[in-house]
């Protein structure tokens, strides 16, 4: 991948989620279409045609220099994320998943407006956006439903 974009991705995660620079050692960032993939294999040009995925989708490029982290990517990073983690309890999370957004009364200092990693029981469960104390969900719909079912049925 263009080393300029790679640097931008590393910087994005450093500034937004405080992910250490050395975390990325041994991992590759690969741009294909509008998706940046994270993977750990060396020979990325092994196969031509009908390649559907190249590891885990980490980010989408919305437009030039504007990235959106994926929920899969944030779940993969989990414990590396030290900033902009929003922890929700079960009742709040359920309401959030049902309504798509929620007003938060108490937000920790290390949370800023913009992309955040939503956390439950100390584990990242997906991506959200925080704006003026309102948290918006950015989880894929199937994953949102799956999590809601877990919360409803038991967990």
């Amino acid at each position: 991948m263009d080393s300029g974009i790679e640097e931008k991705v590393v910087n994005f995660f450093l500034l937004t989620f405080k992910v250490r620079r050395d975390f990325w050692k041994g991992l590759n960032l690969v741009l294909r279409g509008k998706i940046i993939w994270i993977n750990s294999f060396s020979d990325v040009n092994t196969l031509k045609g009908k390649v559907i995925s190249l590891g885990i989708p980490l980010m989408r490029i919305i437009r030039e220099d504007v990235f959106k982290p994926t929920s899969w990517g944030l779940i993969f990073l989990d414990r590396e994320i030290k900033k902009n983690r929003v922890e929700l309890d079960k009742i709040t999370l359920k309401e959030f998943l049902e309504r798509g957004k929620i007003k938060l009364n108490q937000i920790k200092e290390e949370c800023e407006d913009g992309f955040v990693a939503i956390s439950f029981e100390g584990k990242i469960i997906g991506c959200g956006v925080l704006k003026n104390n309102i948290l918006y969900q950015k989880l894929p719909n199937a994953r949102r439903k799956e999590l809601l079912e877990i919360l409803n049925k038991g967990y």
Binding site: F41, I52, S53, G55, I56, F76, I125, I150, K153
Partner: protein, 294 residues
């Protein structure tokens, strides 16, 4: 199932095991969590689980589905039959190897291979069916697998540009080991007749794609010799592969060497037949082949 009475050594145990039914078993995804950590988390939430004869696997002693847990959502484990774990153990994946899983969906075996490879080396997980590709991708992402490329080729036409150290060919089959629990028609000879040429084609392709000296593991979740020994016997005749003895200490039956008047190569005894009474978790057939000629 009466059709197989002659070849199933412990027929009464077989019937009893089917009546008893299958239990939920899970494989801990050590890419994300250790077995002891997962056990502790689940037990804290009231799940009763116990160890099995397989590393990384637990048996769930509950009727409710363990898929309804945060731990499942986060990819800490995969719900998987023990027989599937056995197939991957027979493959013996090693970090830094290049492995092809020719019929990969839904990804239970692929993700276990990745786990044993410690997310190193390279796995190419191939699946031609779009719906099944979605399930495969979701499982790869959920379990945090980073060493895998997913492709969508028809397995019979997978490009021979690269050679792999090992190929797993877990072919589509009549799935008798699963159907036996579901009150479904178990033996459908018309289907078996239709699918065996496809199974032979996939195995031949797998042999083409593995490097000289490399390993091909052929597996099914069915009992019919037409889909198992007969398929292997047909490729042995071409002289490109030999069957290797499986060095695993698990209680399984040997492959058979004659069926309905047909005689197969003696070395088919080296294959494994897994019946429900072995692990109470799936069943099927496994062969480990080594390529000796291009």
């Amino acid at each position: 199932m009466e059709r197989y009475k002659k070849i199933i050594p412990q027929w009464e145990s077989f019937i009893q095991a089917i009546k008893k039914g299958t239990t939920q078993t899970i494989r801990v995804n050590t890419l994300k969590i250790t077995p002891s950590e997962l056990k502790e988390r689940l037990e804290k939430k009231g799940w009763r689980i116990e160890e099995t004869e397989f590393d990384f696997a637990f048996r769930v002693k509950e009727e409710r589905s363990i898929a309804n847990t945060l731990e499942f959502y986060l990819g800490f484990f995969y719900i998987q039959q023990l027989t599937s774990l056995l197939v991957v153990n027979v493959l013996e994946p090693k970090p830094e190897e290049k492995i092809l899983d020719l019929c990969a969906a839904p990804g239970g075996k692929t993700t276990f291979i990745a786990q044993l490879m410690k997310n190193r080396g390279l796995i190419v997980a191939n699946e031609v069916n779009y719906k099944r590709q979605r399930a495969l991708l979701a499982n790869i992402y959920r379990l945090g697998v980073t060493n895998t490329i997913v492709t969508g080729f028809n397995g019979l036409f997978f490009p021979a540009d690269i050679k792999f150290d090992k190929v797993l060919v877990d072919v589509p089959c009549s799935a008798q080991a699963n159907r036996v629990y579901k009150n479904q028609k178990i033996v459908d000879l018309k289907f078996i007749k239709r699918i065996t040429p496809f199974q032979k084609g996939l195995l031949k392709k797998a042999i083409e794609l593995v490097k000289l000296g490399g390993i091909v593991v052929y597996s099914t979740c069915t009992f019919s010799p037409e889909e198992n020994e007969e398929v292997i016997d047909s490729v042995l005749k071409e002289g490109k592969v030999i069957i290797e003895k499986i060095k695993l200490d698990f209680p399984c039956e040997k492959g058979i060497i004659c069926w309905e008047g047909k005689k197969f190569d003696e070395s088919l005894k080296l294959c494994l037949r897994v019946y429900p009474y072995h692990f109470y978790s799936g069943g099927g057939f496994i062969a480990r082949l080594r390529k000796i000629k291009d």
